[in-house]
């Protein structure tokens, strides 16, 4: 219920800022150059200077969109690290950030006074700041609901820029699966010990992209990792499926790892929490030794490289 309200609230904020943006573009006049400094601080308001006119295809930005987390240190290790890798790879592009969770944006703003854009605010600012070429790179794991919602927010802007391109989420092409598995395996020594069962906990979604999880599990096994299992908190493969897989594998020890960009609340509570319904507690009740690895996907160098590669693919793709 609370969550629904917050979503509504978030939607209202987004709708509100869209309206503002819409109105703003009608006014025109002052020279854009003198407004640039102000623009970058004031967002939609500054847009009144009529930035649209100045859109310059050679002024390029890479816009990284993440769900977000309110934990500062965790954020820097995960989302921040992905952003840094992208920034280093493409020095010709100015980097922008947005979070899709308005709850997290509001919390960080209230607590730390740090203002993080939502998608619409960031798009408005890119427009106001005169960017002509924008590459949007989500840090989403798959082409799911979050990704669709992001595109719904960015697509109205597509004809306002000389070029908008999208980098793909982590698990998109068939090759991505293999690359992800190699990236994870390279940094997860526990996988090599076959007396361990290694369980990756994904979020899970009602979106049809939920099949991604089972596909990843399948691919792990196809690549010889028969001790690796992929499950989700909210969808299928569910925890019962994981338990039956573990029983069949006859594991002594289970290593739990989040399959999420950030090791945040789900990893802390649903996976590694001390309450009776966490995966850790439930597996211990069954007699497994349990090790929790509190490491988000953003912390694996190989995963960060993939986001850089997806970004690069978008940059070099032929314009439609």
């Amino acid at each position: 219920m609370k969550r629904k309200l917050l979503v509504l609230l978030g939607a209202a904020v987004i709708a509100g800022s869209m309206l503002l943006g819409g109105c703003a573009r009608q006014t025109d006049g002052t020279s854009p150059a003198e407004d640039t400094a102000e623009v970058s601080e004031q967002g939609t308001e500054a847009e009144m200077s009529g930035a649209e006119v100045t859109a310059d295809a050679d002024k390029k930005a890479v816009f990284v969109v993440s769900f977000g987390t309110s934990y500062n240190e965790t954020r820097e290790k995960t989302i921040g690290a992905v952003e840094k890798a992208i920034a280093e790879a493409f020095p010709d592009y100015e980097q922008r950030r947005a979070f899709t969770s308005q709850t997290i944006i509001d919390k960080v703003n209230e607590r730390d006074g740090e203002k993080i854009d939502n998608v619409t605010e960031a798009m408005d600012r890119l427009l106001a700041d005169g960017f002509g070429t924008v590459v949007i790179q989500p840090t989403h794991v798959m082409n799911g609901e979050e990704y669709d919602e992001m595109k719904a927010l960015t697509s109205p802007y597509e004809d306002k820029f000389a070029s908008i391109k999208y980098g793909q989420p982590l698990l998109t092409s068939s090759d991505d699966y293999e690359t992800v598995i190699n990236a994870i395996a390279a940094d997860t020594p526990q996988i090599a010990d076959k007396t361990n069962a290694v369980v990756f906990m994904g979020h899970g979604t009602e979106h049809f992209a939920n099949a991604t999880y089972a596909a990843l599990d399948y691919r792990f096994k196809a690549m010889g990792y028969d001790n690796v299992f992929v499950g989700t908190v909210e969808a299928y493969p569910d925890f019962d499926k994981i338990k039956s897989d573990l029983a069949a594998y006859n594991a002594q020890k289970v290593v739990l790892i989040p399959l999420m960009i950030v090791a945040g609340d789900h990893a802390t509570n649903d996976m590694a929490g001390d309450e009776e319904d966490s995966w850790k507690t439930q597996l211990k009740k069954e007699g497994y030794e349990v090790e929790c690895v509190m490491k988000g996907l953003g912390e694996y160098p190989g995963i960060r490289d993939m986001f850089v590669a997806h970004c690069e693919d978008a940059m070099t793709e032929e314009a439609e």
Binding site: K2, T268, E276, T281, K284, K285, E286, G287, E289
Partner: protein, 481 residues
Amino acid sequence: MKHILKTFFISLLCLLLCACNSAGTDSGADNSANSDKAKGEISFTDDDGIEISLDKPAERIISLYSAHTENLYYLGAGDRLIGAYKTSTFPPEAAFLERYDYNGDPETLIAAAPDLVIIRPFVRDKAPDYVRAIENAGITVVSLYPDRFEEFDDYIKKLASLTGTEDRAEELLADFHGEIDRISGLTSSIEPKQSIFFESTDTNVRTVTADSMAGLAIDLAGGINIAGDAQPVSEGSSIAPFGEEKVLINADNIDVYVSQRGSMNSGASKQGISERAGFESVKAIKNDRFYTINEKLISSPSFRYVKGVRELARYLYPEELDDISAYENDSAATKRSFADIVFLKKHLPVFVPSSSSYYENEYSGHTYGLFEDIPWTDRDFDSIETCVSDGYIEGRKDGDKEYFDPDAPVTRDMLAQTVFVMGDFTSTSDSADIADISESEHPRIVKTLVQNGVFELVDGKFEPKRQVTNNEIIKALEFVK
């Protein structure tokens, strides 16, 4: 001294107020309506300054404040509640009352035909039209809120008079103060004293004022309040600015760090605290003495406040407060004694659901407060709910009902599972040969614990179904780090 003066002043104020209010009635200084009982009349001035007069106790009550709801249940008037505000989730049955919201349409409340609506001044301030609409419909609205701990008894007596539960109120208040006195008596003699920092909001690391309920709880629990001289953000507020910097200045002195969490304030979690720059140097964080406490236990004027005081005292002086000597015997253990021993021996913080929407979700495991055989009034409610919610002891489901079976025996098999879940045990390579392992429900756990020396075999047998004694539980728990 400050408190005594304050108490005196407030009592004086009460006396004066009561003297004024009771013009025309024969009630004395104690305006709890006790003395009016014979006349069958209920009259007092509520906290919005409105004269209240009822001919008889209310029968159909809607409570628009969670503390009123809790207290009415304690008073035994829960069956007269026909509705409550959405944050009313204690006792657990209150969560299933019809919901009324002062941000909504007053007509839905009026249509329920209550004969009494209990609010607090905050509600009238926030939703004056809503309250007025109810009053215009001819429904009695009473506004109550004790601003200070010293006003708690008077507040409870008013609630009691509205519901004709004065005798029960006397008993409860006597027990309430008796337990608080016992705790403060116990902690006042402990030396050296432990210091505590109480964080009331994550934003700007605010604390509470010394005279707030939480501030008072620190005194009662025998703690030295690091922020004892913090001044309120605004006059009359219980929230006081403090800030990260001052916390860090006191880093070496903070023995215990408590973060308050609640529905309006998500509060700092253990992870949130550990990610603040420099906080790893805070003594309490280094020594793993960080706790979160639900605001309903510590900042709300309800009978549950005694639990909040006890929790703070347990965080400060765990060994002194959590006394298991009553269980150091060879009596056969029941699940009830098992839960108590685990709770006390391992100093488990009391589990309370943190979200007011807790009951809107379904849980695959246990749902807090819903054991058919452990009502919220059970003396061991907290230890049992905590052990089950932490996953240390299991209940039983029968259809959609849950049972704890407090009198059931504790077997070696059950004890093994608890010890394994609580601890961090690794299987060693020398596999133990256990003759009757097939009789165990947790063969993997039993093997590991036998290898680790937690259990001894008798003639090569584990005897999983044998009932353990209280002393055996205590001994096994020694192996949990």
